[in-house]
Symmetry: D2
Subunit: 165 residues, 4 copies
C-alpha cells in the first residue's frame, strides 16, 4: 500500500477538551491531534487543519457548510474529521449527501484526550485506517466500528454509536 496522503480537519469536540485549571472548567485551548499523531508514531503524510474548536452541540448549519466546503476544496481525497459526538451524525449527513468523490471519515471521543482514560487515540487510529482503506463515501468511525453516513446514530442513553435500522 502506498504512503497515503490524508488531511485531518479538526472541529473540536470532546477529543480536544482541555481542563482550565484556573476556572475549574472544560474549555478548548488548541487541538491535541498533532500530539496524538506523535504518540501513535504515525508516519502517514498528514496535513492537520483546525477549522474550529467547538462543542458539537453549538455547531451551526453555517459551520457544517464550512466543513463541507473544506472537504470539497482539500487537495487530498482521503479526509478524517474530528468532531464532537453529540451531532456527528448531522455533519455526516451534510457531507454524505454532497456525494463527493472522496473517502471521508468522522471520528471523536467520549472522554477528552488529556484524561488518562480517553478512547481518542484508539478512535484516531481506526479512523485513519478506515480513511485509507474504504471506498469513496462518508463514514463515522466510533467504538472500533465504521458506519455509513446514512446509517448511524449515537445512542444517547448508552453513548454508543449504532446503525439506524
Amino acid at each position: 500500500m502506498d504512503l497515503a496522503t490524508l488531511r485531518i480537519l479538526v472541529t473540536g469536540g470532546t477529543f480536544d477538551k482541555n481542563y482550565d485549571e484556573l476556572g475549574g472548567r472544560l474549555d478548548f485551548r488548541e487541538t491535541h491531534v498533532p500530539e496524538m499523531l506523535r504518540l501513535g508514531r504515525c508516519r502517514l503524510s498528514v496535513a492537520v487543519e483546525t477549522l474550529m474548536l467547538i462543542d458539537s452541540l453549538e455547531m451551526t448549519d453555517s459551520d457544517r457548510s464550512r466543513i463541507l466546503a473544506s472537504c470539497r476544496d482539500a487537495a487530498e481525497d482521503r479526509i478524517v474529521i474530528t468532531h464532537g459526538t453529540d451531532t456527528m451524525e448531522l455533519t455526516a449527513r451534510t457531507i454524505g449527501a454532497a456525494a463527493l468523490a472522496k473517502t471521508i471519515v468522522l471520528t471523536g471521543a467520549m472522554v477528552p484526550y488529556t484524561f488518562g482514560s480517553s478512547d481518542g487515540l484508539f478512535n484516531l487510529g481506526s479512523a485513519l485506517a478506515f480513511a485509507q482503506s474504504l471506498p469513496t463515501g462518508t463514514y463515522v468511525a466510533m467504538n472500533g466500528r465504521c458506519f455509513r453516513w446514512d446509517d448511524v446514530r449515537k445512542n444517547k442513553a448508552s453513548g454508543v454509536f449504532e446503525g439506524r435500522a
Copy 2:
C-alpha cells in the same frame, strides 16, 4: 457495514510487557488487550485468544507454525495478531505465504501499553479497522500505515516500519 466478528490472537511483544516491581524488570503477566478494548469503548464482536506471551526475538519456527495453525483453524475470517515488532515481518511472511482466504493484520507497539506514552492503543485501533476493511491477505499495521506481508520491514535504526522496495 455490518458488525464484523473478529478474532485477536495475542502473542506478547512490547504491547503486553509489564513492569515487575519487585524484580525491577520488564516481564509478561497477562495480556492488556481486553483492557485496551474497554478503553477504546470497542463494540466489535471480538474473541481474544492468548497463544503465547513472549518477546518476538525468542519466537521459534514452531511458535510461528502454531500461530499460522490458529489463523487457519479460527472460525473468523478477520484476524488481528498482536506481536513483538522485532520479528513481526517473519511471522507475516510465514502466514502470508500460506495464502489463507482471510484478512489477517499483525500489529504491535514500540512502547508497552502500561507506559503513559504507548503507541499501542493507536495501533490496535488501526489494526482492527484494517482487518475489517481490507480484502483477503496478510498485512502489517504500524505507524498508522498498512503494509502487505511481502513488502514490509522494520528499520532497526529508526524503529519505523517501511516498504522493502
Copy 3:
C-alpha cells in the same frame, strides 16, 4: 518514627472531579483517595471518611461546621482534609480558630486526579507527610509548601497558594 494513624476526611473539590461521559461534564462519582493511596503504595494506617463530594464554591457554613465537628470527634489526632482550592482558606480558618489539639492539614488539587497531568498525588503525599511531622495546628499544604491557617490565601490570578503578608 512510629507507624502513625491518620484520618483522611474527603470533601470533594477538583481532587475528586470525574468526567461524565454521557453528559460531557465534570461531576462527582466517588472519591479517588483510596485509589491514590494504593498508587502511592501507602502503608500508613489511614481511615478514609467521605463527608461530602462538592465543589468548594458551594460549601456552606453548615458544611464547614460539619467538617470541624468531624475533626473534633475523630479518634485520630492527625488529620488530612481533601478540599476544593477555591475556599480552602475559609475552611482552614474555621478549623484553625477552634484550636483543636490536633495536627490538621488541608490539601487539594488544581487538576482532577483522573487527568494525566494532575498535581493530586504529589499534594496528597506532601499532606500526609506534613500531618505526621508538624506540631499541633491547622495547615494548608499546596504547591509543595505548607502554610499556617491564618497566613494563607489562593492567588486567584495564578492559582498558586501564598502567605498573606
Copy 4:
C-alpha cells in the same frame, strides 16, 4: 512557614528509569525530577543536581562517598536524595553516620515515573514535606512513611519499607 530552600540530589534508581524504544530495555536518559516538580506545581525554591543516573544495585562505596560529600558541601541544609530502592538503606547509613547538621531525606519509587502507575510523584511530595518539617537527621521516606536512617530496611519479598526492629 517560610519558603524553604531545598536541594534535590538525583542519583537515578527506578524513579528515573526510561523505556528505550529501540532496544526494548529500561535505561537512563535524563532525570524526570524537574518535570515531576512542574506536574506537582511545586513552588518551593529547589535546586536540582544530578550526581549520577544509576541502578542502586550498581552503586559503589565511592559513589556513596560522593553523595555524602555533596550533602556536606551543599549550601542548603534541607536535602532530598532520589535513589534506587534496593540499596537505599546502605546510602542512608553512610550519610546518617556522618551526623551532618542537616535534614536529609532519601526517597525513590517502585515503578518508573514514566509508567502510568508510578508511586514516584506521591513519594517526591512526601519527601519534600518531610525534608521541610523534620529536625536535623537522615531519613528514608517511602510508602507514605518516614524512617530514621538506622531503623529502616526494604522487605525484599514485599517491596515495602519497614523498621528494623
